[in-house]
Symmetry: C2
Subunit: 83 residues, 2 copies
């Protein structure tokens, strides 16, 4: 059984108010190392069998049509092998 991960993040040129809110909260909580935060989404897609080139292509199509808004978001598809 394999798991395909789709990471969806706002494009770098798109303002991310959620990430900014977190970044501004950090110094108040005593965390001073982090300079910037971006928040995005992570989807775990479960496959019954192993991940093949065909299933990766399907996952990419799913990401494009359903999971990401490609006008404002970038997505990245990768495989996480699992027990």
């Amino acid at each position: 059984m394999a798991r395909v991960i789709v990471d969806v993040m706002l494009k770098p040129e798109i303002l991310d108010p959620q990430g900014q809110a977190i970044a501004r909260a950090l110094p108040r909580l005593g965390f001073t190392t982090i300079t910037d935060v971006r928040q995005g989404k992570r989807f775990e897609l479960e496959l019954p069998g192993p991940a093949t080139e065909a299933t990766l292509t399907e996952a990419r199509k799913i990401a494009e049509t359903l999971l990401a808004n490609t006008v404002i978001e970038d997505f990245h598809v990768h495989v996480e092998e699992d027990a």
Copy 2:
């Protein structure tokens, strides 16, 4: 410059209605390979310098106190080296 990634996912025993809605939409759209979907969050924390054990510890504390609700969510912290 390094980037620390915090992945936050609902614990496996917690119901994920967002993921279920996506999983149920897939066959209607013609995607039949995926058996289950879980939706979570991905945070990208920017560091001015390289990631050290100390910054990873700080990232873990940030995840615990601010990014994840550890009652219902699991988080995973890892480093993504960047230009």
